[in-house]
Symmetry: C2
Subunit: 218 residues, 2 copies
C-alpha cells in the first residue's frame, strides 16, 4: 500500500499547489475588477469562487480517503490533517476575493483615488503569501512558512496606512468622501485575506513540527 | 422506500430549521460581542462558526444520500438541490458573523457611537430574514419568501443611513473618527449578510416554483 499512499500524498501536494494558484488568481481577478471598474471581470471572479469551492471539496475527499484507507500516523497524519485545515482558509480567501468583486459592482469609481495603489500592494502581498504558504507545505520549508507569517505585518501596516489616509481624505471633505469610505471597506477585506494566509502558514508549521505556532515559539 | 424518503425529507427540513437558528444565534453573538466590547463572546462566536460548518457538512451529506439513494424528481429534487444551495449561503453568513466578532477584537470601543443602534437594527433585520427564510422553505410559503427578499431593502437603507452618518461624523472631525471608520466596516458585513439571506429566500422560491426569481417575476 505504501507506494499507493505516496502517490496519493503526491496528488494531495499537487492539489494544494493548484488550489493556491487558484486563490492567487481569484485575488488578482478581484483587484483587477475593482481597479478597472470592470463588471465582466467582477462576475467572472464571483463565478470562479465556485471552482475554488469544488476544489476544496475534492481535496477534502482525497484527505478523507487517505485518513480512512491508510490510517497514517505521525508526520503523514499531520500533513493530511493540516491540509484539511489549510483548504478551509483558502476557501475563505476565495470568498473574500468574491466579496471584493461584489463590492466593485456596488462602488463608485475608486480608480482615481491615490490609495488604490496601496490596495494593489495589499493584493500583491497577500497573493505572494498564499503561493509561498502552499509551496512551504509541499517543500516542508519552515523558514518560508515563518516568512509568510512575518509578512502579515506588511499587510497590516498597509491597511493602517490606507485607513489613516482615507479617514484624512474624508475629514478634509474630499470630493470623493464616499468613494474613500468604499475603498476603506475593500482594504479591510484584503487585511482579512492576509489573516487567512497567515493561518495557512501556521498550519504548514504544524504539519512539519507537530507544534502549533504559539507552542513552537516557546 | 417512500416512507423512508419522507422521513429523510423531514430530517432535512428539521436540519435546515436548526441551521437557521444557529445562524440567528451567530449573528446575535457577533453583535453582542461588538456592542458589549466583549472579548469572550467574540471568541465564542468565532468557535461557534465551526459548529455551523459541521452542520453544513451534515446537511450536505444527507442531501447527497437523498439524491443518490432515492433519485427524486420534480419538486422533491428541487427541494433537495435548493437545500444544497441554501446551506452555502447560510454557512457564509456564519463566516460573516465570525468576521464581525474578529473585527470587534481589533476595534476601539464603538459602543458609545450613536450609529451602533442602527447596527443593532441591521442585525435584528438580518436575523429575522434568515429565520423566516428557512421557515418559508419548510412551510413552502411563497409570500414569506418574497417578504424576506423585500426586507433586504430595509437592510440596504439602514446601511446607506449608517454610511451617510458615519462619513458625516468623520467629516466633522468627530473625536471618534477612526472608530466611526471601524463601524462602517462592520455595517458592510451586515449588509452582506442581508444579501446572503436574500439568496436563501430566492432558493426557497425556486424549490417551490421551479423558477428562478428573475424568471418568476416575468
Amino acid at each position: 500500500m505504501r507506494n499507493r499512499f505516496d502517490l496519493q500524498l503526491k496528488q494531495l501536494n499537487d492539489d494544494i499547489i493548484e488550489m493556491g494558484n487558484m486563490i492567487e488568481r481569484a485575488i488578482e481577478m478581484g483587484v483587477y475588477a475593482l481597479i478597472g471598474h470592470d463588471t465582466d471581470k467582477a462576475k467572472q471572479t464571483i463565478d470562479y469562487d465556485m471552482d475554488i469551492d469544488h476544489m476544496e471539496r475534492d481535496i477534502e475527499a482525497l484527505c478523507m480517503k487517505l485518513l480512512l484507507q491508510q490510517q497514517p500516523v505521525a508526520r503523514d497524519l499531520r500533513q493530511i490533517s493540516s491540509a484539511l485545515k489549510m483548504i478551509t482558509d483558502m476557501e475563505r480567501i476565495g470568498d473574500q476575493a468574491s466579496d471584493i468583486a461584489e463590492l466593485s459592482l456596488q462602488l463608485g469609481d475608486v480608480s482615481d483615488i491615490d490609495e488604490i495603489s496601496l490596495i494593489q500592494k495589499m493584493a500583491n502581498e497577500t497573493m505572494m503569501m498564499v503561493v509561498r504558504g502552499t509551496e512551504a507545505y509541499v517543500t516542508k520549508d519552515l523558514d518560508v512558512a515563518h516568512n509568510v507569517i512575518d509578512n502579515d505585518d506588511v499587510v497590516d501596516d498597509l491597511f493602517d496606512q490606507i485607513k489613516m489616509a482615507l479617514v484624512k481624505r474624508i475629514q478634509d471633505n474630499h470630493v470623493k468622501s464616499f468613494e474613500a469610505a468604499d475603498l476603506l471597506m475593500v482594504a479591510k477585506y484584503f487585511e482579512r485575506i492576509g489573516d487567512h494566509a497567515t493561518n495557512i502558514a501556521e498550519w504548514v508549521i504544524y504539519s512539519i513540527t507537530g507544534k502549533h505556532v504559539d507552542e513552537a515559539d516557546n
